[in-house]
Amino acid sequence: MTAPRPGDPVRVGPLVLRNRIVFPAHLTNAAVAGRPTAQHAAYYAARAAGGAAMVITEEHSAGDDDRPYERLIRGTDPAVVPGLRRITDAVHAHGAVVLAQVGHNGGQASSRYSGVAVTAPSPRPDPMFREVPRALTAGDVADLVAGFARTAEHAVAGGYDGLEVQASQASVVRQFLSPLTNHRHDAYGDDPALVLVEILTAVRTALGPDRVLGVRLQGDEGLPGGLTAADAAAVAARVGGQVDYVNTAVGVATATLPLIEPPMGVPAGYAAAVPSAVRAAVGVPVVGVGRFTTPSQVAATLAAGTCDLVGVVRGQIADPGFAAAALAGGRVRRCLGCNQECIAAVGLNRPLGCVVNPRAGRESVPLPDPGRRRRVLVAGGGPAGMAAAVTAARRGHDVHLVEAGDRLGGQVAWAAAAPGRGELGHAVEDLAAELRELGVATSLTLAVDDALVAAENPDVVVDATGSVPARPSWAGAGVLDVEDVLRGGARPRGRVLVVDEAGGHAAPSAAEALARAGASVTTVTAALEAAADLGPTLEGPRWARRAAALGIRQEVETVVLATEGGTVRLLHHLTGAEESRTVDAVVACGPRAARAPVTSAAPVVRVGDAVAPRLLDAAIREGHDAAVAL
């Protein structure tokens, strides 16, 4: 059998998919009051229009009281059906197959929204929700199975082509399958897969033979004594005759989430062992997932025979046209693996977005007509200016992008030079490629001033000139800024104190660069936790391991009062204890300062750090939005 290519059609049960690229289920927080919205329809339709063969919509909950997060689709509520119909019509209009994922979070949930005790195979608290569940009675299990069937009936009424039963990262079914969470002594303890067999039987009855039934199976839970790829293969062999395809997963959402949605630096195909093992155990198509951010990675994993279909979530959030590009051999706007506006935002109960795709999460908000062609002078070739120039050019405006330095990319260009941060640079590399494709006039080593504005006479100036380091009030002579280290190549040796006052990646990046160059590095932060912003983006564990390997010390609850020569005065703000410490260098990683307005000689729109120094998502979004509003 020859290995499939991304563009090869494939039969999945009663249907034929047009290619091998799937948009798997993931949380969007687009639901309102338990119901899907117009945003869901537009969001999925954009990926279908972009070529995906099969869209699997986010979890529809099969339990009336299953409410782990606020913006959950309540699959058992008949009121969801009109919203489901809107989704399926929108996806079908672009020729893609659309399935609904159905799940129940069991003990991986809280009673916060439902008001009643959560339920699970055994009364053991989930590590994240920390709430003791009520053990499911035999009657509860029957209700649980019936809830899956009821959700399937609603999906059928809503026009879906089929259903995927989640038995993976956040699922009561996985809790039955895993020895870590199933301590029962009844039939469901003796046969951990029994509940899955019953659910698949009930759902198949609800779907009938003309629709697709799939299951998403858990591979490695990433927990001592937990499920492995071999377990996924064994379960797949057991239920393979009941389903039309098997999807795969690694990690537990409430315990080992970084395994599910790994950050930049984790290689594509990191989870390939699971689909490989499952594919050897079943005769139905198998979906593999695992940080595939470019079309070539998709082709490579298919060629390697690890799976029959490839699930690409973040790659298609970043570029809805990912699948079409994969088939045509084109370029995509790449997912960075920054996890900032997708995973972190959703985890914080905000709608899903994307740093590099400012349309993600607001596909249902139509763009206004571009209006008449404008002459636009964009001042600043960082991400805000580049995004403004790309969007303005796409909308037909006459754009001149002017950068004072000798390269595009702004702070991203040097932030990406830090160890482990290289993929951040894709954001500006891809924008630069789009600028070239669009033929946007770009001038380097040219500063925008009143004279240039007078000479060019634009309709509007987009001021995206960014920010500069701000010297902290405590800093004496000789204190370096993170920019001196990452951009300027400063590599102080000996004992180096990195002062983290801004959060984010600046201080970890500086600390790692200096430690790799041989310095003995200590970081200090006023916060209770070092590098705390790396938690929501799931980068924390990897950073902790790198920091430990490099011997970087991370001190918390501490502020710098002053530096003088080689002496730093520190205050532990919770105890009031002061300390003087001798160091060889101090690196400040603090909030930056916006540059002064570049001109008042024409109508000006200010964007990005020039307004207030913030993160990359604000720069790209504001650049894009300014171009849309021209």
């Binding site: 309102v32 009051a33 009281d65 997060y69 606020e70 009673s111 916060r112 929204y113 008001g115 009643v116 005790a117 959560v118 339920t119 009364p123 608290p125 590590p127 920390r130 709430e131 003791v132 569940p133 009520r134 053990a135 009675t137 009657g139 509860d140 209700d143 935002a345 914080l348 109960n349 905000r350 006052e501 801004a502 959060g503 984010g504 006023a526 209770l528 936790e529 705390a532 938690g535 924390g540 564990p541 902790a544 391991r545 430990a548 609850e557 919770l574 105890t575 909030p591 930056r592 300062a593 916006a594 307004v611 207030a612 120094p613 913030r614 604000a618 979004r621």
Partner: protein, 642 residues
């Protein structure tokens, strides 16, 4: 404004009697202050919903003198949390609240504000506004420094919102210059580094705003001000010594705290009530004649509130009115209200998950009513919070209730919980229940073990059971047993805390008197789930000498030491331990054969299991289950007679 306050009966009469504010009269001196509720409907997140109307009207019906509605943003540069009201969308809501409160005479004031740099860009995706580009210490987001046009827009926004509130029928407005406020950021040297007129005179924006609001609402409306009096940062922040109260106000509420000390405004019971007194005293010294002073600061008991009238004209009792909306009515009748326990667990809801406001000891939603009965007999087994609340609910409905408790006292686990630092008020709650049961003629039998009775409707709330120790090889004690007085062996103690709530921190603090204590958690900080008490808890632990060990799992024990594994790196270390104290929640009690689930409870024949016996959770769920189970028992009882 002498009020004749004081701690005696005269003080209570004064507290519960009318007070004149400008052109209006409030029916009592008790103020229900502005607070985040998350009661908005999901599809209309910035409007005041029917649930808001019910929330405020209930307190008005119970005798509150003034209700200040949830702070509404006066400008679109501000959306500090997902469901923060937007003033321009609040007209209908203010009208409905005013109409619902009017029959009770309660004054309804619209809370107005702008959170400035303490807001969030997460929802409106705009730059934050602030006097100077000084990041908030929590979010660390750099705000945009406001230009003249932005400053003018904020003043205009306050005036327009105030005019809208008046037109909607509100009695007036309260201007926010307290802990989460742009106006405070302009007042404070911590956050205002401007060199223009707004920096040279840091009080200018507040005075301009008060004047614009007064002009917008006229002289017959109430204009109040919530003012930060002490930022607890004397090196640059506001202090009671330099507070100034603008002219044109009917009242001023003094609060404390800033972005550096977010927990200081409504701290939990670790901070004894009374911290509002110096704030009120400072305001009394400088407030213009005719401006009433409101004391705010953890006052939750009627005698304390009456005594506070020596120093203030009114008293804010927001949390006390969450625990018992009828507090003023009870005080008038000489009855004790259900006590607020000052734990902030369910009323502090500025949380990204958008939890709806409730009360730890008085659940407000999902509670069925129990229809009145003419005295049929029911049994309650178990005198913990579930049984106590269930018995009270049934007795109030007219049932003849017998409560059986196997221990020699009421309270269940709450007696142990009340020994934790900052949790002492749970003992007061148990005493309140005890008195209420007496008042409602409940028969209480202590030291009695009950068997299931197939003929008597029974609320079965016998609690949870101990779990197996987390690791073998060490003396392991459940935290509840330690709190109940179990002997802890001499030597170093490790408190293992997989939960991160007040128990682990509190047990560690208690045990640290006279021995080495380490508090170990897999989380990046100890007390991970504490919310407002998170930072103060760290300081207390350090002061007590507790060693905090974070990001470690407990993997084993041998030879007087525990084995720990660093969660990220896998590095294994040991920690000496003569004993391990485990804060894991307890396990459910045994599930009887044939039990079936019913609305989160378990039912077997006429027996309804509820509370920790079903699944050990917090006091809130225990109380909620008690009420639910009472309703379920009542329906069992009706069925039995049908």
């Amino acid at each position: 404004m002498g009020t004749g306050g004081g701690s005696g009966a005269g003080g209570v009469r004064s507290l519960t009697g009318p007070v004149v504010l400008g052109a209006r009269t409030a029916p009592s001196r008790v103020l229900f202050g502005p607070h985040v509720t998350n009661l908005a409907e999901p599809g209309r997140p910035r409007e005041l919903a029917a649930a808001h109307v019910g929330h405020y009207a209930r307190r008005a019906a119970g005798g509150a003198g003034i209700v200040v509605t949830e702070v509404a943003s006066v400008h679109d540069s501000d959306r500090p949390y997902d469901r923060s009201p937007r003033a321009a969308d609040c007209g209908p809501g203010w009208s409905a609240i005013a109409a619902a409160c009017r029959p009770h005479g309660t004054l309804v004031l619209a809370g107005l504000g702008h959170a400035g740099s303490q807001g969030s860009s997460a929802h409106h995706r705009r730059p934050l506004w602030a006097p100077s580009p000084v990041p908030d210490p929590v979010s660390r987001e750099v705000p945009a420094a406001m230009d003249e046009a932005a400053v003018a827009a904020v003043v205009d926004g306050f005036a327009a919102a105030a005019a809208l509130a008046r037109a909607a029928g509100a009695d007036g407005v309260e201007i926010g210059a307290g802990q989460h406020a742009l106006l405070r950021q302009f007042l404070s040297g911590l956050t205002n580094h401007r060199s223009d007129r707004w920096g040279a005179d840091r009080g200018l924006l507040l005075r301009d705003t008060v004047a614009a609001v007064r002009a917008a609402v006229g002289d017959d409306a109430v204009v109040g001000l919530r003012l930060a009096v002490d930022e607890l940062a004397p090196w640059a922040g506001l202090t009671p010594d330099d507070v100034a109260v603008p002219a044109g106000l009917d009242y001023v509420v003094g609060v404390r705290g800033s972005g550096l000390t977010v927990a200081a405004t409504r701290p939990d019971a670790h901070t004894p009530p009374g911290y509002g007194r110096p704030l009120a005293a400072a305001l009394r010294r400088v407030a213009p004649p005719g401006t009433a002073v409101v004391l705010a600061g953890g006052v939750v008991d009627v005698p304390d509130a009456a005594a506070a009238l020596d120093q203030a004209d009114l008293v804010e009792m927001t949390r006390a009115l969450l625990a018992d909306p009828d507090l003023v009515a009870h005080a008038r009748a000489g009855r004790a209200p259900r006590p607020c326990v000052l734990t902030n667990q369910r009323c502090r809801v500025r949380d990204v998950r958008n939890p709806r406001i409730s009360c730890t000891v008085a659940p407000t939603s999902g509670v069925p009513t129990v229809p009145p009965d003419d005295g049929r007999a029911v049994r309650v087994v178990g005198g913990g919070p579930t049984g106590l609340e269930g018995a009270l609910t049934l007795a109030r409905a007219g049932y003849r209730v017998t409560l059986l408790e196997r221990d020699d006292d009421l309270g269940g686990l709450l007696r142990a919980v009340a020994r934790l630092p900052g949790r002492g008020r749970f003992a007061r709650l148990v005493e309140w229940w005890r008195a209420e049961l007496v008042r409602h003629d409940v028969t209480v039998r202590l030291g009695v073990t009950a068997d299931p009775d197939p003929d008597v409707p029974t609320l079965w709330a016998t609690g949870g059971v101990d779990r197996d120790p987390p690791v073998p090889g060490v003396v392991a004690l459940p935290a509840a047993a330690v709190l109940a007085g179990a002997a802890v062996p001499d030597g170093p103690v490790v408190v293992w805390d997989p939960i991160g709530d007040a128990t682990g921190v509190g047990v560690a603090e208690l045990l640290a008197a006279g021995r080495d204590v380490a508090l170990v958690t897999g989380d990046p900080v100890v007390g991970h789930e504490l919310g407002g008490d998170l930072v103060p808890a760290q300081a207390r632990l350090l002061a007590a000498g507790v060693r905090r060990v974070v990001r470690h799992d407990l993997t084993g024990a041998a030879d007087g030491a525990l084995t720990l594994r660093q969660v990220d790196t896998g590095e294994v270390t040991t920690l000496p331990a003569a004993a391990l104290v485990d804060t894991s929640p307890r396990a459910p009690g045994p599930v009887p054969d044939g039990a079936r689930a019913d609305g989160g409870l378990l039912v077997v024949g006429p027996r309804v299991l509820a509370g920790d016996v079903v699944a050990p959770r917090t006091v809130h769920e225990a109380v909620l289950d008690g009420r639910r189970a009472a309703a379920r028992v009542a329906s069992t009882s009706s069925w039995a007679r049908a």
